[in-house]
Symmetry: C3
Subunit: 363 residues, 3 copies
């Protein structure tokens, strides 16, 4: 006997892909393309309070060779990421990591981003209920130019159908070899950008590339408390449809009893907080890796600290260098002691984000 829903109901809603639906080599073209505007940037400003100078000022952006102020780099990231959710992670248990993230041409107001993904690895878990899926996702503008490309891996559930009757693993594990960090030769420094006349009074700090040293740590001092309305507005702006972020009625009965904050919201808060001490880290060029170490919830106050991991000379460029930086965010801990590990070498209980990224900084 059909249930009453089957009698009446349609099956047109998106169920998302389950672990057994993914196979290496599979290509996905994600809906819906998204035109970005000055409105998006204003909201991003209101949500995170960023002060990095390129996204803040058309005039300044022109002074370094751009046509106008680009959108913030991580806004571009979130827009590309959001598109992949309905196809990649609607049935995800956890977002496990990032690698090989390269930022290409900047996004400007009026540009339209379209995102595609390719499955590059799958590995069924021994519990037989979930598996890890590796995808390389690429956002392109309306000219087909690469805006962002990155790998992420997520733990995805199998469907009820795949679980019952229990079947043997459908495919051998294929785990991609991923680079520890993006190669210097793969960093995109937009050709038109030149930092020769960079005004470090207007940018907010006299400290340039030469002033930072490997191993240097910076506690970024400020903290921001997150409200439900803020992370919900952010995540909807990115058209990210993951249910756990918006629905207290269902999440109230879930594992945390609360709405979970989109991990990318923490990335943007940490990046914004990092202005205080790294003001001239004007452009993100690589996301080498990253883990959302612990969940965050409304009411948490986010702080951040950075460590310079590597100083990178850029071929043929005496005006600008790159810094590879660890960016750590913690909750309800002012980061004055640079929290990272606990005494047993595990994760410090306050740490929520451990990111490895590369930024351009004028010399």
């Amino acid at each position: 006997m059909p249930s009453k829903n089957e009698n009446l109901g349609s099956s047109k809603t998106n169920k998302g892909n389950f672990f057994e639906d993914f196979h290496v080599g599979m290509s996905l073209k994600h809906a819906t393309p998204r035109t970005v505007t000055a409105g998006d940037q204003a909201l991003y400003q209101a949500l995170y309070g960023s002060r990095f100078v390129l996204a803040s000022s058309d005039e300044f952006a022109r002074s370094v060779g751009l046509a106008q102020a680009p959108l913030d780099d991580f806004l571009a990231f979130h827009l590309v990421f959001g598109k992949t959710v309905p196809d990649i992670s609607l049935n995800a248990v956890a977002n496990l990591g990032y690698a090989e993230g390269r930022f290409g041409v900047p996004l400007f107001p009026g540009d339209t981003v379209t995102t595609t993904s390719e499955v590059i690895g799958t590995k069924e878990n021994s519990n037989g209920k979930t598996g890890v899926v590796y995808v390389r996702s690429t956002g392109r503008n309306q000219y087909g130019e690469m805006v962002l490309e990155y790998v992420r891996w997520v733990m995805v559930r199998m469907s009820a159908l795949a679980l019952s009757p229990r079947k043997s693993p459908t495919k051998a594990a294929e785990v991609p070899d991923l680079l520890a960090s993006v190669k210097t030769s793969d960093l995109t420094i937009p050709e038109e950008m030149t930092f020769a006349g960079f005004d470090s009074v207007l940018s907010g700090s006299p400290y340039l590339w030469g002033d930072y040293k490997v191993g240097e740590r910076i506690a970024h001092v400020d903290g921001m408390t997150i409200e439900e309305a803020e992370h919900q507005m952010a995540t909807r702006l990115y058209q990210n449809t993951a249910k756990v972020h918006f629905n207290q009625h269902s999440e109230g009965q879930g594992r945390f009893g609360r709405r979970l904050i989109y991990g990318g919201h923490i990335i943007s808060l940490a990046r914004s907080l990092s202005f205080n001490g790294m003001e001239n880290a004007v452009k993100v060029v690589a996301l080498n890796g990253g883990t959302h170490v612990a969940p965050t919830f409304a009411g948490d106050t986010i702080y951040a600290w950075s460590e310079v991991l590597e100083k990178i000379e850029l071929s043929g460029r005496s005006d600008v260098g790159a810094l590879r930086v660890r960016l750590v965010a913690a909750k309800n801990n002012d980061c004055g002691d640079f929290p990272l590990r606990d005494e047993q070498g595990g994760c410090h209980p306050d740490v929520v984000l451990d990111l490895d990224y590369t930024v351009l900084m004028p010399r």
Copy 2:
């Protein structure tokens, strides 16, 4: 002896119109005209998370013949509606219904909307304290083109003056004949729009007009919990001045003890949720009717379901058809059972919105 306020105070503030101030044939030109921008659309995006493709992408909008992405249809509705509040419903007890709503030319960033209303009916209630006012409101762009036209009726209080001394009814009831739904020949399908090359991968679903059948019901799965900051920001964006939405100090002593959420906020949430299962309902062309069945408050989680009421062929158009759809929103009920009526045939206690609207869908 005058009170001290009469001594000093001015009477320049807007008292709004009371029931006795309205008469059939009365015309109102509403302040303030409003230029719409990409900023409005970005906020709308952040508030509701809509993914319908036309408002999301300039490139896609061009592929169907528009000059650029139009604003979301219900954003246009709220902007027009908001203008009418100071003149029509500042002294309203309840917003009772909508009819004969027609969406005309799309609104694009940079357009300026001006709204007028005509009173088309009045009916005093037997309590002698309130009456129902019917108005037809029209929003026009800077070229005088109709953007939206709709009828609503509201229950409005009489002024203290009209009540004391008690007078006999000032006018005979005049109740307009309203159509059950907008005539097909009155639907506006912008001439420049053509769906021949419609890309249903980018739009988010393979299901087109031919795939839906009358009587089909779709539970839209997702739910969104509303925060005070969200509905307040939305309602202020629309320049809707109804006091009940913003003032906890006064509403705390009112009938609900809480700020009441603008009914249109629920319409937009339900429309946005309906993307999951009706992705290709790309444009709203009619608002045939609708009732805000019950009030909503911050903390409520809104879900929605749809039923296809009618499939409409459009004369001379093989590329696109229309669907007349019932869109129901419920609070704290996932709509898997399509709530509408209770066992006595009254309203289901969780239902908050019962809307009847018509959308375009490519064939």
Copy 3:
């Protein structure tokens, strides 16, 4: 032995200036320049619900001679103010007052504002721990035109270093002579603006300059309750970095136990509320003075009232006059009794803002 932080940590973060760092004649060029957009205006709209016609409609703005709708005047104020915070008031105890504020050319979407300040006075307090700093700050657009110029004075802490060992006052007090109000001849009325054909139906009120009289008081009726997400988004939009507004983790242990709302948020709420009764006060031209009388917190409901202090004829202009207005905001008090003083002549306990400003109004 160095602390572990000194071992590892960098000192590149901004400590801000302490009282002893300021001296009369000191010039500061503030980071970061800021391009304003229609997105900023949309957020401002959503945060305050303003309905003043110039910022609302491009078409209306053109009808009075402007090229398009300018940003709201106090949005310009907040953007300029926000820039000064990292250099002027990062170590402030209190923001004490404003004077000699002049609004110059309007800001339009696309303009970039850069802000400078000059120290015009310092006065050490007798406690030897704090002092008052007077600064004149100026925001200019990309053409170097003055957008806003104003004086504010703040109480700023001395650094720990300056306090120990205790030193004698480093400098004699220099307190600037400040005007009680901006001179009429110093008001900027943009030359291109003409109000001859001003449409007072579209602007929302028939009351023009001639209809207001000195001493007239208007209680603005409406109230708005503030949410944490709202004031945080506003203050970040203005790139104001004062810690007390964002960090519940630290403020929970501070003097109020709560995040303090940026005083400018109250100015904008009061200005927006003042529309109801002063609809044709279309442009702010001077900020003669102002005090944030008491702090406000999320959950407070803000009301406002105005008093006409002065009617000002503008030389050679028969189409427009100015009104000098006192704008008072109170919390959780509907302002029907025009609260200002308590029975002992001190501040009324509900009053939070006492502002003296000058507006243009068509005649």
